[in-house]
């Protein structure tokens, strides 16, 4: 199963990250994972949260441009070559990765790589047939 990620468009100006995190925090939403992609003029904040539906509502109510996307959360071993094992499978199956970042599953301390591919369903079946675990929720 895929995991829901929320992306937020942020202009490159001071205070925007503070604004968005405060809005989410005030609504009782916990951030379970995040990364920012930045360009010269704008950034894209990508977050994994406790309540995606509520998060979308809070963001929209606060006039942020936000979007829900399917990403893959794959458990990786916390050891050398833990990631390269996963990458090797992607490479052999010719699946391109758009971006990736790491987080930790707070429930069991396991390391997770969150990644976006061109075709999520295809990636999912490849991952599952290679014996890797994917998570559809971090709650």
């Amino acid at each position: 199963m895929a995991l829901k990620q929320i992306s937020v468009f942020l202009e490159n100006k001071s205070g925007r990250l503070a604004d968005v995190t405060k809005a989410l925090g005030d609504a009782g939403i916990n951030l379970l994972g995040m990364t920012i992609a930045d360009t010269a003029d704008f950034g894209i904040l990508r977050i994994i949260v406790t309540d995606t539906e509520k998060t979308m509502k809070v963001l929209t109510d606060n006039h942020f441009t936000a979007k829900m996307t399917d990403v893959l959360a794959i458990e990786v071993d916390d050891r050398p070559n833990g990631l390269s094992h996963v990458m090797d499978i992607f490479c052999k199956n010719k699946i391109n990765i758009e971006y990736l970042y790491f987080t930790v599953d707070r429930r069991n301390g396991k390391h997770l790589v969150i990644l976006k591919t061109e075709n999520t369903n295809q990636a999912l079946s490849v991952i599952n047939s290679n014996g890797l675990s994917t998570l559809s929720s971090l709650e």
């Binding site: 990620q5 468009f9 202009e11 003029d41 894209i44 942020f64 441009t65 979007k67 996307t69 976006k116």
Partner: protein, 433 residues
Amino acid sequence: MIFNPTAECMPTEERKALQLKKLQETVSRAYKNCAFYKDKLDRAGIKPDDIRSLEDIARIPFTTKDELRETYPYGLLSVPLSEIKEIHTSSGTTGIPVVGAYTEHDLKMWGESAARCLAMTGATRDDVIQNGYGYGLFTGGLGIHHGGRTLGATVIPISAGNTPRHLQMIKDFGTTTLTCTPSYALYLAEAAQEAGLDLKETKLCRGLFGAEPWSENMRLQIEKRLNIKAYDIYGLTEIVGPGVACECTEQHGLHVQEDFFYPEIIDPETGEVLPEGEKGELVFTTIDKTGAPLLRYRTKDITYLFREPCACGRTTVRIHRLMGRNDDMLIIRGVNVFPSQIEEILAATKGLQPHYQIIVDRTGNHLDSIELRVEVDESIFSDETKKMEAIRQNLAEIIKSRLGINTKITLMEPKSIERSIGKAQRVIDRRKI
């Protein structure tokens, strides 16, 4: 040197008689041969015979830029198409360009206008004119070209751009006279400095600059940096390109070629003709153009007329350097841009909000730059930066192909561009012209 002393130094009364005769001929030709004008004059209840004095011109209805678009492409022709020898258009940025159609007679008149202008600034047949206006549909390039040929000077049709070649030719060919936009002149000065070319060591001594707004302050900068005298030349695609009016070596107002173009200043609100010396909108009637004459064309340019004697000996009326516009047209590196054109492109682009802001600046390199800020909504927002960059690039390409200008696109958050009740501030012009 005065290129045509008879025309340019004619006593005012004599010229008025000549203007009236030419006006009467123009109106009757237009009435007879052009359905657009016949209809227009009929509706106003005027016959060509009603024009008995120059003051009667006020009875003729104005012609507007919108009407020029409505009559595109040939609706203003007052001669058979076979008589038209050259066609120019404006950058055509709104989709429908403004057309300038010239007969052999008109081209000769245009050439003489531009030649008179070049001569006003001291150029003669012994000069080498490096023409940095764009050649093509734009009237700048060929207008100066026709003028230089009529003057008998040497013309280098180098066109716009390719700065290293400009510098090389100034040096190698002994260019004396530079014609281009004022901002490009400043850019050249800087490039010369960087390339280690001392312009004082060249023969360059004058420049005729136009096609975009500039100021006295910019003149001082150009004169100092290029070590030349800088003159303001005025023209517009609708009338003829460069040549309508130009400064003489006195650098005090632009002499209008009054025997070709009859100027009036009107109150832009009421349309009432204002006396000389009063500021208002400049209106031209072409009284020596046969292909597609214009009757009382509203230029939207704001200035005033003055007729005190000029030390150069010319008796033609002068206009003050343009003082602004009566519409929201922007002139970016010589290209006319209306905010509404940007708005149309945004409206046709999926996912972009119609809220936008245009920021015009004249930055370090002295060239105009334009930034377009647009709001991004959910429908086009992507979690992938490359897709967001593609939106910017795509929009910049559309604007480049339609408007002919390079734009920096900045994506903004929704609601971040100020909404105002009534007239939104769509344009922020930071140019210190």
